[in-house]
């Protein structure tokens, strides 16, 4: 069995690595939560790359229905085609459009399926996926076709916890919460993205970043992606570590609301 080892550009903890492997071995979906910007979505990408598998993304929106993940029967297209008699509309199969989950279960090889931001959908949505995720098969009722996964897809699910997920669904998943990186880890992340930067400067930027972030009165705390943008701005602005100790330049890159800006600069 292939084991997930993690790649150089994505820094992750050993515990997460072990849990990913456990999810693969046990054949269970892995639910990933964590603050925005902790790399939940990228994880699936990294797993796919590392194991050399195809990644199928299914992005969830507030209007997404569970069935759409399997397939959609495009009746409107068929209806439209039938009016002009230029296509053979008797073959329903050409109007079946498979969704992410359907593609994953249909695939000949093992794939990584990412169900991104599952909490965006309706409260009952995850429960509607239970059968397919358990049994790894589905039917297309319109054509009578039956699909069954040859290889259990590796299923990664992310949630921003905007809604709570139903218990029945949670019971079937493994769960991991990606903690916000500590300064040490954050420095490693920053150095992966800006390998040429002076170590001392990176350390200083990260330290200042955490000073801002730890403030209790912030409405929206800056995350990793904001830090990386900030570093870019600081480099572009030619600001040295000395200057950083005295002031916080380009704060607008870190803080996105006026209230936060006001409370930090005050």
């Amino acid at each position: 069995m292939n084991r997930f080892k993690g790649t150089g550009s994505y820094i992750l903890s050993d515990s997460l690595k072990e849990i990913v492997n456990a999810a693969i071995v046990l054949g269970r979906p892995l639910l990933i939560k964590g603050e925005p910007g902790t790399g939940k979505t990228e994880l699936a990408q990294v797993i796919a790359e590392d194991l050399g598998l195809r990644l199928i993304r299914w992005n969830i929106k507030s209007t997404t229905k569970a069935n759409e993940g399997l397939y959609v029967y495009d009746t409107v297209q068929r209806l439209n085609d039938s009016r002009f008699h230029d296509k053979d509309v008797s073959d329903i199969r050409q109007y079946i459009r498979f969704g992410g989950l359907g593609e994953a279960l249909r695939s000949e090889e093992q794939v990584v399926l990412l169900i991104d931001e599952i909490d965006k959908a309706d409260l009952e949505f995850p429960n509607d996926l239970l059968y397919e995720l358990d049994q790894m098969r589905f039917d297309v009722v319109e054509t009578g076709d039956h699909f069954r996964a040859r290889h259990r897809p590796i299923v990664m699910i992310t949630s921003n916890s905007e809604k709570e997920l139903p218990d029945a669904f949670l019971r079937r998943c493994l769960f991991h919460y990606i903690e916000f990186p500590d300064p040490e880890m954050m420095e490693r992340i920053a150095r992966v993205h800006y390998p040429d930067l002076e170590r001392k400067l990176v350390a200083q930027v990260v330290a200042r970043f955490y000073q801002v972030r730890e403030r209790r009165d912030l409405k929206k705390r800056p995350s990793t992606s904001e830090l990386l943008d900030w570093i870019q701005a600081i480099v572009a602005g030619g600001i040295g570590e000395r200057e950083l100790t005295r002031r916080l330049p380009f704060l607008g890159v870190l803080l996105k609301t006026e209230e936060d800006l006001a409370s930090v600069t005050r």
Binding site: E18, V25, T63, V76, E162, E164, Y177
Partner: protein, 389 residues
């Protein structure tokens, strides 16, 4: 295996089910923990705990079960560490060779052998040569049949028991964590989706049906789009005893404002009388009567307050805490009016539940309104009830 952990988790209120427990056994059977307590910690947590709000309870339960032992991987790590710290002079030539020639397993094996051959009472002796001068409160290393026990000093590696001891998820506990975002998550339960507004989205099913009825001639059917809608009114106590909770209430307020378009909010001072305030600093009054009349009956009402006041403030005319304030009707009657006007009400109390029964006014108000704690768990229960009522 480890059934005491299962029991401890249940005791700490983590809803572990039998199926999940069996999955953990399967994982152990597949050697996923690899005889390492640290890996077992992460594996068990991933399988048994499904919300970061329960991680802290998991840590506590884990400590109860495993806090007293240190596992083999810790032992190895520690020996390596000690060997590295050891001043070279204290090593005999033989020991040096040992370190160089043996792999870790063997070192460990010999090390344990030596310990076993020692007097159990006297924890000092030959083991020093291997570099085990534990600085633990108990002075030395010992061997006991239940496992290897090493002192309590902290190493540099993240080890299961220490991770649990750190309890780094304490702030995520669902009876503690209350930032705006988590409050939003809980209030999100109140989001209600209804169809309203102009008919502007295509009803595919309806179109197909209508077109079939039309013998194949395309006929579009439109429907109203789904919109989020909930009517919510927040009544917040801004009285003196609420001052310690002011920040919490303001977080609740900003979460609600982001979430609910149709939000009305008013303040009151300790208790509701004939006037509510739109702005607490300016004391801009509106007549309570008017608010009640103009707010639709199906509005959900959340009152936030500690319900802690002198009985006279609640029960007597002119009982308001503000000396100059005259109220002909006692507060309790105004509260009854609110209760009568709106079917769906909820009272959130920032004081812990245990105190409620000792405060007469809280008891009275609790008999009038469904009351919940102003914690994540309390809000979760409260909003669920609010949506069901």
């Amino acid at each position: 295996m480890f059934i005491n952990l299962f029991r401890a988790l249940r005791r700490h209120g983590i809803p572990v089910t039998f199926n999940e427990w069996m999955l953990l056994q399967e994982a152990l059977g597949a050697n996923l923990a690899d005889s390492s307590l640290t890996r077992f910690y992460h594996l068990a947590r991933a399988i048994l705990v499904k919300t970061e709000g329960h991680f802290d309870r998991f840590d506590q339960a884990f400590l109860e079960c495993f806090g007293h032992i240190e596992s083999s991987d810790e032992l190895i790590a520690r020996i390596v560490e000690r060997l590295a710290q050891l001043p070279p002079l204290e090593l005999t030539e033989e020991e040096k060779r040992l370190v160089e020639e043996l792999d870790l397993e063997e070192v460990r094996g010999r090390f344990l052998d030596r310990l076993r051959n020692q007097d159990d009472e006297e924890h000092v002796g030959g083991n020093q040569a291997i570099g085990v001068r534990g600085r633990s409160p108990f002075g030395a290393w010992g061997y006991n049949p239940a496992g290897v026990r090493i002192g309590q000093d902290v190493g540099r590696h993240r080890r299961a028991v220490q991770i649990a001891e750190k309890r780094s998820f304490r702030n995520y506990r669902d009876d503690v964590a209350l930032d705006t975002r988590t409050i939003k998550t809980v209030l999100g339960y109140m989001r209600q989706v209804v169809r309203e507004g102009p008919k502007e989205s295509l009803d595919v099913e309806g179109t197909v049906r209508a077109t079939c009825r039309n013998a194949g001639e395309l006929e579009f059917v439109w429907e109203r789009a789904r919109r989020k809608r909930i009517k919510l009114m927040l009544l917040m106590d801004a009285g003196g005893t609420m001052t310690p909770h002011a920040e919490l209430v303001s977080r609740l307020f900003s979460a609600a404002r982001d979430l609910v378009k149709n939000l009305k909010f008013y303040y009151f001072h300790n208790c509701v009388y004939q006037e509510l305030y739109t702005d607490i600093a300016q004391m801009t009054p509106v007549a309570t009567r008017k608010v009640l009349e103009q707010t639709p009956r199906d509005t959900r009402v959340i009152l936030v307050g500690d319900a802690y006041m002198a009985p006279s403030e609640l029960l007597h005319p002119n009982g308001a805490i503000d000396f100059w304030y005259r109220n002909d009707r006692p507060g309790i009657e105004w509260l009854r009016d609110i209760r009568k006007r709106f079917r769906k009400v909820l009272w959130l109390n920032p004081e812990p539940r245990e105190w409620w029964s000792s405060v007469p006014t809280t008891r009275l108000i609790e008999s009038l309104f469904p009351m919940h704690e102003l914690t994540l768990e309390g809000m979760r229960r409260g909003t669920r009830a609010l949506m069901k009522q």
